[in-house]
């Protein structure tokens, strides 16, 4: 079923459209290279588009991510393919041959105008992964409000084939027999920006994650705190009660040999402090306690952010939480040693617990490309000190959480650094980018299509 339908070329293939991938793509495209960005999700934006606010500036995450997403979508030299998997990337001469699969949305991307009439008509509801499974979506759906492209897709596993979406669609965009499209692509360089996934909520059995309803993960709380989240406010999952005694459990997926994650995940101290501060705004009467091993507020402005949180009355308790048990009313009983007091074992009860889960590699790049990884699955560099974005395969660079847990600012720096490495290798782009008012338009196609193109030229990402 892997019919190879297209043969295309591009200068750079960027795998992953989170903030690192987007930044690398923009830097390279601004330089004049042609860039193809692919992401397995139906929208670009990675994890960052799902966050509420970012530390330490407290910018609204969506407000700073969407301009980047938009810039990528509109850039003359960038083509973006979402809902696309990378199957393999192999060296080929001084470049690479890549095989990608554009998964079937069952919607014609060129015809869809993102009006959502299919979504409103669809009778099937299921938990929305984007909302931490706390909100619902339909089987036919547009991924989320700020998604780019604003294009619908059908979760065919959940679809009941009632045809209501098809009837509702004003542009006849539903395609029931859409096939995954195999694409063979030649690229001169590759950027791996495959990001992270969080460690499992239930990784540490002692913490009742996955069993107790009111033990949630860090990204789940982001959605509760986001202005466009599933409930529009912070509620606890079991009964919708507004929490008034929230606990953060740090290192709930890191610095723990028993979980196979002995390393530090770098961002969890900061995201917990940030969330705690947002909670004190959203729930002014709530008590918020952070149980920690070390507070790692190491970046620019981070320590000051931490001290501000302390002064706001957020309580920081040095303690490695030993266990979390669910009470009959949904509350959680923690077990901790009060090191900073008299060392007694205490069992504080909280009504909502956030596990500060850690970061693992978002993907195993070795599935599709022969780069060395470290023992934890992050991409390794042969020159780790002076050139961290290189990989063991010349012409393939990596950036962001793919090479280790990373916050947004460090991911952005690495993405630009990776762009430089690519430019150093490739030499100046073939076509100098023309000034925009020369009337030069999509004739200068960066995707050299073999035959008539269903994929429109680089500027025409359809998202009405």
């Amino acid at each position: 079923m892997e019919a190879v339908d297209r043969k295309l070329t591009t200068d750079i293939l960027v795998v992953g459209a989170g903030i690192a991938g987007l930044q690398a793509a923009l830097d390279l495209a601004d330089r004049g290279y042609s860039v193809l960005v692919v992401d397995r999700q139906p929208s670009i934006g990675g994890k960052m588009i799902a966050l509420s606010k970012v530390f330490p500036t407290m910018d609204c995450s969506s407000c700073i991510t969407t301009p980047r997403m938009s810039a990528v979508a509109h850039h003359d030299s960038i083509t973006t393919w979402t809902y696309t998997e990378v199957d393999r990337i192999e060296p080929d001469g001084d470049g690479f041959r890549a095989h990608l699969t554009r998964k079937a949305r069952y919607v014609d991307e060129d015809l869809c105008i993102g009006c959502r009439l299919c979504e409103y008509a669809c009778p099937v509801e299921l938990p929305h992964e984007f909302e931490g499974n706390m909100g619902a979506r339909r089987a036919a759906y547009v991924p989320f409000g700020t998604a780019i492209p604003q294009t619908a897709l059908i979760d065919i596993e959940a679809c009941v084939y009632c045809g209501k979406c098809e009837k509702a669609c004003p542009t006849d965009a539903i395609v029931w027999d859409q096939q995954p499209l195999g694409v063979e692509l030649r690229a001169r360089a590759v950027v791996l920006a495959t990001g992270y996934q969080t460690t499992a909520l239930d990784a540490k059995k002692e913490y009742s994650g996955g069993k107790a309803a009111n033990v949630i993960g860090g990204l789940d709380m982001e959605r509760l705190l986001a202005p466009n989240g599933p409930y529009g406010r912070v509620l606890r999952p079991s009964d919708g009660k507004i929490p008034d005694n929230v606990a953060y459990v740090q290192c709930a997926g890191s610095r723990d040999e028993s979980l196979g994650v002995p390393y530090c995940s770098r961002v969890c101290c900061m995201y917990a402090i940030k969330q705690a501060m947002l909670l004190s705004g959203a729930l002014p009467l709530a008590d918020i306690t952070v149980y920690y091993m070390d507070i790692r507020a190491f970046g620019k402005g981070y320590e000051q952010f931490f001290q501000t949180a302390r002064s706001m009355g957020i309580v920081f308790v040095k303690a490695k939480v030993a266990r979390i048990d669910e009470e009959p009313n949904g509350d959680l009983r923690l077990r901790v040693e009060m090191i900073e007091e008299d060392g007694r074992v205490a069992e504080p009860v909280h009504d909502l617990v956030v596990l500060s889960v850690g970061l693992k590699p978002g993907d195993d790049p070795r599935r599709f490309v022969g780069v060395d990884l470290d023992e934890y699955g992050f991409v390794a560099s042969p020159q780790a000190k002076l050139d961290t974005t290189l990989t063991s395969l010349p012409g393939v660079v990596a950036a962001g959480a793919a090479i280790g847990p990373k916050d947004i600012v460090d991911s952005i720096v690495e993405a630009s650094a990776a762009a430089t490495k690519v430019a150093m290798r490739l030499g100046p782009p073939a076509v100098s980018p023309a000034p925009p008012d020369d009337g030069l338009d999509v004739e200068v196609s960066n995707i050299d299509a073999g035959e008539a193109v269903a994929i429109a030229g680089p500027a025409e990402v359809q998202h009405a």
Partner: protein
């Protein structure tokens, strides 16, 4: 957020929206099909700091009954502009008082790019003010210089 009840549309609200923050936020409100009254007119700008006092007075003179400045607040990408804007609005309030225009007709607020609920709330509050005060015509004493 309840839909405004059908009724007389006798007043007009101008919403000054910023390209970076509130314009996308108002878009998001529409995208989510969240309803608000149709007597609202959005004027986009890179930053509301650009408007002299005379502009706001001009609006009232021409028959704009209420103005909501949906700024970026302290998230403004332009150095120092929010503080300058706030100071200028104070000047506008003084000028409005002189002309007998209720200062409740002008509000400075901050709306971010996903602040749909906050936007609806601000619009509803200003609608309530306009419903109470009626058209600005009734209050205008002097012509704009």
């Amino acid at each position: 957020m309840a839909v405004q009840p059908a009724g007389e549309q006798s007043t007009r609200m101008l919403i000054i929206a910023t390209l970076l923050c509130s314009y996308p936020g108002i878009d998001a409100t529409g995208q989510a099909h969240m309803e608000y009254p149709p007597n609202t007119f959005v004027i986009p700008t890179p930053d509301p700091v650009v408007f002299p006092e005379s502009f706001y007075l001009y609006c009232f003179e021409k028959g704009v009954d209420g103005i909501l400045i949906a700024s970026c607040g302290t998230d403004s990408p332009y150095e120092g502009s929010y503080e300058q804007l706030a100071a200028r609005i104070n000047n506008v309030y003084a000028a409005m008082k002189e002309r007998g225009i209720s200062i409740r007709r002008l509000k400075l607020t901050a709306i971010c790019s996903v602040c749909t609920k906050a936007f609806l709330k601000e619009v509803a509050e200003m609608e309530a003010v306009l419903a109470e005060l009626g058209p600005v015509e009734g209050e205008m004493k002097a012509a704009v210089a």
